[in-house]
């Protein structure tokens, strides 16, 4: 009996394993059959159409959807525009503050507060020239975040709620994406302004993602609030030039992509207090072909979900959560400035398992958004258009 029990105990895991194995085999074959018969039709470019919803824009950077169906569009030169019924309103919206329009700088992102319908707040990021009393280079600039309300063609109740410090006299790497989470916080991505070592410096805002309350106050539970010398708004650091940022529809975690050096553009999952490694680790080399770091990984530094080689110059990104693109739900659509295309990234958990190029030659993509109608809207810098991608039938 004793012997039998022992045998039973020993063989139980084996037997159980066997059952599991056959069960999973059955499941696998079952799912294979499902795939054959009931799987939804794969979305291909051929099933999709591209319609122009706005044209005549000058270097548009981002768009936001007003509840009445109008679009707000930023032009990098410093204008906020309105698109009504597919027509660009010739009258620009007044009230935009002075913008540092040079190199990659200018008027950048626009996003509506999640409760826009009740509070009317519009959030706008831009390259802000140095003002008196601010730290940094004379004639320099850095990224700022403002909010305001729209009355006809005028911004009112204008508040600058954040300015990245210090001002830097360089034309590059302003970041600038605005994302709201579902808990009342607003995130802003900041580029390192061409000073890579400052991405690792917690006393500067360069190369960081910051988290603020919606009025610009700093949350007391931000990761570096109690770190001496660190700027309390910092949420994550070690970024280069993040120009795509979006919130995961189910986990609520922020995903970000950034322009890396040559061959080192990255997709990252941005989490509290983490260091994304620039320039200590990178998959790329400098644009003059010099080595930035011999390491691609180091303890304590986060790895990207994927990196792009060659660099695609990613700009704009959205998760798909649309009944019109069922098969893509939970996946990412990323824009490429450099190769003038969209990339559909298949997402499984925290991994990207597939990459598909869409609409090669569509134009220099600045922004990718899912509209309230479930269609995907793309802002094209080169042609000055906003286009809508929707299923053909």
């Amino acid at each position: 009996m004793n012997k039998n029990t022992t045998f039973f105990r020993k063989s139980l895991p084996v037997a159980f394993g066997g059952i599991l194995l056959s069960a999973s085999l059955a499941l696998m074959s079952n799912s294979a059959i499902t795939n054959d018969k009931n799987a939804p039709k794969k979305i291909t470019e051929a099933n999709l159409k591209v319609d122009t919803v706005a044209s005549g824009l000058k270097m548009p950077w981002a768009t936001a959807f007003l509840p009445n169906g109008d679009l707000l569009v930023t032009e990098r030169g410093g204008k906020l525009r309105l698109v009504k019924n597919g027509v660009l309103d010739p009258q620009e919206i007044s009230g935009i503050p002075e913008v540092y329009y040079k190199g990659q700088g200018g008027l950048l992102d626009v996003a509506l507060h999640p409760d826009y319908k009740t509070n009317g707040w519009i959030y706008i990021s831009y390259s802000s020239p140095k003002k008196e009393g601010e730290a940094g280079d004379d004639g320099g600039a850095n990224t700022a975040l403002m909010r305001a309300k729209l009355k006809d063609h005028t911004l009112i109740d204008i508040q600058q709620i954040f300015k990245a410090i210090p001002n830097v006299k360089a034309n590059v790497h302003f970041g600038g994406r605005i994302v709201f989470d579902k808990k009342g916080y607003v995130f802003l991505s900041l580029g390192e302004r061409g000073q890579k070592e400052n991405s690792q410096n917690l006393s500067k805002d360069q190369g960081k993602v910051v988290r603020l309350h919606e009025d610009g106050k700093i949350p007391t539970d931000n990761p570096f609030v109690k770190t001496e010398g660190a700027r309390p708004e910092i949420w994550s650091y070690g970024h280069r030039n993040p120009q795509g940022m979006t919130i995961h529809p189910t986990t609520g975690v922020i995903w970000e992509h950034e322009h890396g050096p040559q061959g080192g553009d990255e997709l990252n999952i941005v989490e509290k207090g983490k260091n994304y490694g620039w320039p200590l680790i990178t998959y790329g080399i400098d644009y003059d072909n010099s080595i930035i770091s011999k390491d691609t990984a180091r303890a304590g530094l986060e790895q990207p979900v994927i990196f792009w080689r060659p660099s695609i110059a990613p700009c704009g990104m959205t998760f798909v959560t649309s009944p019109k693109f069922k098969e893509w739900n939970g996946d990412l659509i990323v824009g490429s400035l450099k190769f003038m295309q969209l990339q559909h990234l298949t997402v499984k958990g925290n991994k990207v398992t597939g990459k598909e190029i869409l609409f090669q030659g569509i134009g220099r993509v600045r922004d990718v958004r899912q509209g309230p109608d479930g269609n995907i809207y793309v802002v094209l810098e080169s042609s000055g258009k906003v286009v809508k991608i929707s299923p053909k039938s």
């Binding site: 040079k102 034309n171 644009y287 450099k338 190769f339 003038m340 220099r364 080169s382």
Partner: protein, 146 residues
């Protein structure tokens, strides 16, 4: 005596020649110097505004961004290149026999920076402007076609 006079005349000529050569080469060196300094500044402008597309050695990206190194578009029609840097460029262009259909956003540089970056790209990666310098005034003179 006659000989001496001739010699004196020759001497004068020689002195003038030497003087002229010295003056000329000083002026020449000054311009060389101005060009060298402009190229130096232009390198910084390039690495901030141009390098991600036109690449570190001006080779561009096949089918997307035209090369600057040994580019006929740049070297034969520098005024077109100045125009592109000043106002941006959209639509089809032909560089070294290959057609490109893309868009270059205006980098928003000041005229002096445009002159500097022009001098840099015209004198890098095997390119040569034959010591000719692009000046701020030349950039200023290029006007936007509507």
């Amino acid at each position: 005596m006659v000989r001496a006079i001739v010699n004196l005349k020759q001497m004068k000529k020689l002195i003038l020649l030497i003087l002229g050569t010295v003056l000329y080469s000083t002026a020449f060196t000054n311009q060389d110097d101005a060009l060298a300094k402009s190229i130096e500044r232009g390198k910084m402008v390039y690495s901030e505004n141009c390098i991600t597309c036109h690449m570190g050695t001006g080779e561009g990206v096949p089918a997307s961004f035209p090369p600057l190194a040994k580019s006929d578009y740049l070297l034969k029609t520098p005024e077109k290149a100045i125009y592109a840097v000043k106002f941006g460029l959209a639509g089809k262009i032909k560089v070294n026999g290959i057609e490109y259909d893309n868009m270059m956003p205006a980098p928003g540089l000041d005229n002096d920076e445009i002159a500097d970056v022009m001098n840099y790209i015209q004198n890098s990666w095997g390119n040569s402007s034959d010591k000719k310098i692009v000046t701020e005034k030349m950039v200023e003179a290029v006007e936007e076609k509507k």
